[in-house]
């Protein structure tokens, strides 16, 4: 796959196509059960929201600020050699956890846990040992994703009501459990989530690995100029959705104020990106499978 050892990162060619293929293949045709969330869940609404690519990117930006989480990715995964494959695998995993039947989701989670077992080492920046299976790191990754879904839907998607925010946090507890976080450690309410995220902040810093990998993600080489144009909007939306302390850690400039027209423009970019995504084979059918399940569940 990768022959470019001298070049630290492979290009981002095929980002949309491979993510789309991974997504389409992970949405089942005729599942034995409705999985861990089900058609009536807030989780399904959040993950099918137009804004979800921005939520994913914002979550990655936050996750990378944990030096130990970042070190695990940087030193072990094939992230540098095949970043697109890594992102596609992540989107496949999320789609599986969301939409696949329980047995399939459990098998996917078991696979991830097995891979995590081998990921251990010492972070060169802090000198601290890490293990990818450490519930503390897994919880950080989990919580940033959940919080990003809520924040980004409010800014660029269909905002969740206050009760639905709590419900979403509670629903997502099982996702953390699946990768190995004991249930008791996982925040189950919005307030609990906020308190947890605040408690981790003293540990966060922008290591060179974080700076470098996020720079790659924000401006992926090899994306053609046309899609790069849209990607600029997606990433600017993600940066705008970050807490200001996170932007400061990275040293990103203050984003343009999110006026109504700026927000509309970013939503348009999301719509165009989604249109491209929809043009990839299998994506429309996958969405229709989800929608039909939602409708079937709604029927009395």
């Amino acid at each position: 796959m990768s022959t470019v050892e001298q070049d630290p990162y492979a290009t981002a060619a095929g980002l949309v196509a491979r993510s789309a293929a991974a997504y389409a293949a992970s949405v089942p045709d005729d599942p034995a059960d409705e999985g861990f969330f089900g058609p009536g869940s807030v989780a399904w609404r959040v993950s099918t929201d137009l804004s979800s690519p921005v939520a994913g990117l914002r979550a990655l930006l936050l996750q990378a600020l944990h030096p130990l989480a970042m070190a695990g990715v940087d030193q072990h995964s094939d992230w540098r050699q095949d970043p697109v494959g890594r992102l596609a695998a992540t989107s496949a995993y999320l789609a599986t956890i969301n939409f696949a039947e329980r047995a399939v989701a459990e098998r996917a989670a078991a696979r991830v846990r097995r891979i995590h077992e081998r990921v251990t080492g010492v972070d060169s920046v802090t000198g601290r040992p890490y293990a990818a299976g450490d519930p503390a790191l897994l919880l950080w990754v989990h919580s940033t994703l959940v919080e990003s879904g809520i924040v980004v839907a409010a800014l660029f998607g269909t905002p969740l009501s206050a009760p639905d925010r709590d419900r979403y946090v509670a629903e997502m507890v099982v996702a953390a459990e699946l990768v190995g976080v004991p249930r008791g450690q996982v925040p189950a309410s919005l307030a609990g989530l906020g308190a947890y995220l605040g408690s981790v902040r003293p540990e966060l810093r922008c290591t060179p690995a974080a700076q470098e990998s996020m720079a790659y993600l924000l401006d992926p080489p090899g994306l053609d100029e046309d899609i790069a144009e849209i990607w600029l909007d997606i990433r600017n939306a993600a940066i705008a959705a970050l807490p200001s302390w996170a932007r400061e850690m990275y040293g990103y400039p203050e984003p343009l104020p999110l006026t109504d027209s700026r927000r509309a423009e970013l939503r348009q970019a999301l719509g165009v990106l989604d249109t491209v995504f929809l043009g990839e084979p299998g994506v429309l059918e996958a969405r229709q499978r989800i929608e039909l399940r939602v409708r079937a569940a709604r029927r009395p």
Partner: protein
């Protein structure tokens, strides 16, 4: 390669919309001009066997429309205005409209663009019967079940921003009722108002000085199309203009049942474009002759041009009789706008005066004054567009010819490329080249196009050259009166 495909998808969509995406033009292999027939909004507009003259009884038409019902994903039907917003908001409605406008040039688009456009159309399910009824009620003041003698709550066809229902009016006419998605016009208008993104995307495919003009043109056209009253008025005028024509039929509008978001017209039924593949070449030639006459009679006599020469917008009845559908994209020309076009064809094809032709091109704004290219080069570049009418005699229009015309239009390597442009008011006319010839090429139609053109050219007004021409001349003599439609 994958990367390239993705690129072409976005850039292509945008370029297609303005028909200026030279960068994206990838000539198909020779002879592969195939028009998309089954899908596409216009394609979808219901076909109507029409009018009084080809009349069958209303119940029979109603039944025939049901038999031709397009298969739609009613299991995914949009049930609320919010569903519509989710499906068509955030530029998707705009992109779909653009896709519709560009769909008949899809031979000029890359497979990736074509795929994206058709996927986008596929991604929009019909409205539920309840939602459609709600729009009808809002627009016409009564629920359709009360308004009509018979109303089929299930649509018979989709349209990009609406769908078509069959009905029978209280006075017994079988009609096609096109109902617009609720809120779609407002969403598209808002997206075309906030143009920062569109402007940035267009800069990639078009010179920057053109971008604002293109957006303005796009906005005007799309907003026009969103107001069904305009379509109704165009169709009403053209139906009146062609009333009694021997082969051209335009279904009448039922004015009292037509509003901004609902347009009701006579139901018609006939053979679809795809079915012509099984017809004799003689029949296909006659159908092509009617389409050709309709296009240029409308332009020269009525100063109106239907910018949607999509194969789905025709119904065929044999003997050259054609029903024309969908008048959402009609451009009216002022005499001042038309004159340079007339001069161009006259100088090139009749007077054989290259310098006069070039001067007319400059007057029209197609060519910048004093471009450092020889007049021979100008003529050589442009001649392909006039190829069918420069010389007399029978001539077959092939898919190859249609492709060549499109290729030339998008040819960036031409020595002329940097000096030519298409002024805003003529953008729509390029659809003759991009759409009409594609349709005629698909029919592999043969005729003496020059002789037919001479009948129609106002500066020649030649004698009838075919039996259809003779019948048309008799019709014109009968109808008398001013030819020109009020704009």
């Amino acid at each position: 390669m994958k990367r390239l495909l993705t690129t072409l998808t976005i850039g292509g969509l945008i370029a297609a919309l303005v028909l200026l995406g030279r960068r994206l033009w990838r000539p198909g292999s020779a002879g592969t001009t195939r028009l998309r027939v089954a899908r596409g909004t216009a394609a979808i507009q219901l076909a109507v066997r029409g009018g009084m003259r080809y009349a069958s009884s209303a119940p029979r038409l109603f039944a025939a429309a049901g038999e031709h019902r397009q298969r739609l994903r009613t299991d995914l039907a949009l049930q609320t205005a919010e569903d519509v917003a989710t499906t068509l908001g955030a530029m998707k409605g705009v992109l779909m409209k653009i896709g519709q406008m560009a769909s008949y040039v899809d031979d000029g688009l890359s497979p990736a663009v074509r795929r994206t456009l058709s996927r986008l159309q596929d991604s929009v399910p019909p409205m539920s019967g309840e939602l459609a009824a709600q729009v009808v009620t809002e627009e016409l003041g009564q629920p359709p079940e009360l308004l009509f003698d018979r109303w089929d709550p299930e649509p018979i066809a989709a349209a990009s921003i609406g769908q078509v229902h069959r009905a029978i009016t209280r006075d017994g006419r079988a009609v096609a009722v096109k109902v617009q998605y609720p809120g779609i016009a407002e969403m598209i208008a808002a997206d075309l108002q906030n143009v920062a993104l569109l402007r940035r995307m267009l800069r990639i495919t078009a010179p920057s000085q053109d971008v604002d003009a293109l957006i303005a043109e796009l906005r005007e056209r799309v907003l026009e199309e969103l107001d069904y009253r305009r379509e109704a008025s165009n169709q009403r005028l053209l139906a009146a203009h062609y009333a009694g024509h021997p082969t051209i039929h335009i279904p009448g509008i039922v004015s009292e049942l037509s509003t901004r978001r609902v347009v009701t017209s006579e139901l018609a039924d006939g053979a679809r474009f795809a079915e012509l593949a099984g017809w004799s070449q003689a029949e296909r030639d006659l159908a092509a002759e009617t389409i050709y006459r309709f296009t240029f009679r409308s332009l020269y006599d009525a100063h109106a041009f239907n910018g949607d020469p999509h194969p789905g917008n025709y119904l065929f009845h044999g003997d050259g009789k054609v029903t024309f559908l969908d008048f959402g994209l009609v451009k009216h020309f002022s005499p001042a706008e038309l004159q340079p076009l007339i001069d161009m064809v006259r100088y090139l094809c009749v007077d054989e005066d290259p310098a006069g032709f070039r001067a007319a091109m400059v007057r029209a704004g197609f060519l910048i004054p004093d471009a450092p290219v020889s007049t021979d080069t100008v003529v050589e570049h442009m001649a392909v567009f006039y190829d069918t009418v420069r010389r007399p005699g029978p001539r077959q229009i092939t898919g190859d010819y249609a492709s060549a015309v499109v290729r030339r239009f998008f040819d960036v390597r031409s020595p002329l490329a940097q000096y030519v442009s298409v002024p805003r008011s003529y953008v729509i006319l390029q659809r003759i080249n991009l759409g009409l010839f594609a349709v005629l090429g698909e029919l592999t139609a043969t005729a003496d196009w020059r002789a037919i053109a001479e009948e129609i050219w106002p500066f020649v007004q030649g004698p009838p050259s075919t039996p259809m021409g003779a019948a048309e001349a008799a019709w014109r003599a009968r109808r008398g009166g001013p030819d020109r439609l009020p704009a």
